[in-house]
Amino acid sequence: MNPSNYILLSAVLFSIGAIGVLVRRNAIIVFMSVELMLNAANLSFVTFARMNGNLDGQVVAFFVMVVAAAEVVIGLAIIVTIFRTRRSASIDEPSLLKY
């Protein structure tokens, strides 16, 4: 098993996440894309932990999961509030703030 394949996978996941943020309109999906990026980082952390032969990376992954969960809570709160006000979760729609 070549661990660098996992790194490649994590890079692909990260890119999918980043592109997802760029192309999707639904705030929830955008948000999920960000979570995908965080998890790509997690995968990369655990792979490197394996490659480096220490556990730091795995510990980091735990913490990232916690932080990501907190982010979910905050994110959902904001998105749901916006959704109720505007009756849409499209991120293109709210653009009163510009220029």
Partner: protein
């Protein structure tokens, strides 16, 4: 396996913090290093960056490819559900027109789930190494659980647990 810097692992290999002060730039700074050497030795720098380039292109290319393919081949049905808050599952609101109170039960439940979900992530490793972690480990976990209990208590007092 080597040691980790974090508390769950045995101590002998824990890094000692170097105790010297250091600051870049105090000395030797004004010589802007044309001569600064990265000691690259025999390694051709271009070759070092070939994998990164390939990696980047592969990753980005694959991601772009899959999304483009999906747009090209997938059926395009734009409808209300597509831009809804949740693409599947129950419609989250009874949508009282003209405003009104909004049942946020699902949302609160999600929050509860996260509270206990996260708890487990840390409890498992702690439980496995419980006997070696001594009092410090116990107190740390107790504090952690207390902190976890605080939002729980908050939710309870605010009526988040009552399902009308």
């Amino acid at each position: 396996m080597e040691s980790s810097r974090f508390i769950v692992l045995p101590a002998p290999l824990i890094h000692e913090a170097p105790e010297h002060y250091a600051c870049i730039g105090r000395e030797g700074f004004h010589k802007r290093a044309k001569s600064f050497s990265y000691e690259q030795g025999a390694i051709d720098p271009v070759n070092v960056y070939t994998p990164i380039l390939i990696l980047g292109i592969l990753a980005f290319g694959f991601a772009a490819f899959s999304i483009i393919i999906a747009t090209l081949t997938g059926p395009k049905r734009y409808n209300r559900a597509k831009v809804d808050a949740y693409e599947c599952g129950i419609e989250p609101t009874p949508q009282p027109m003209g405003g009104g109170r909004f049942p946020v039960k699902y949302y609160l439940t999600a929050m509860m789930f996260i509270i206990f979900d996260i708890e487990l992530v840390f409890l498992y490793p702690w439980a496995v190494a419980f006997d070696q972690l001594e009092l410090f480990g116990f107190l740390a976990m107790a504090l952690f659980l207390f902190n976890l209990a605080v939002p729980f208590v908050y939710e309870w007092r605010r009526g988040g647990l009552e399902w009308d």
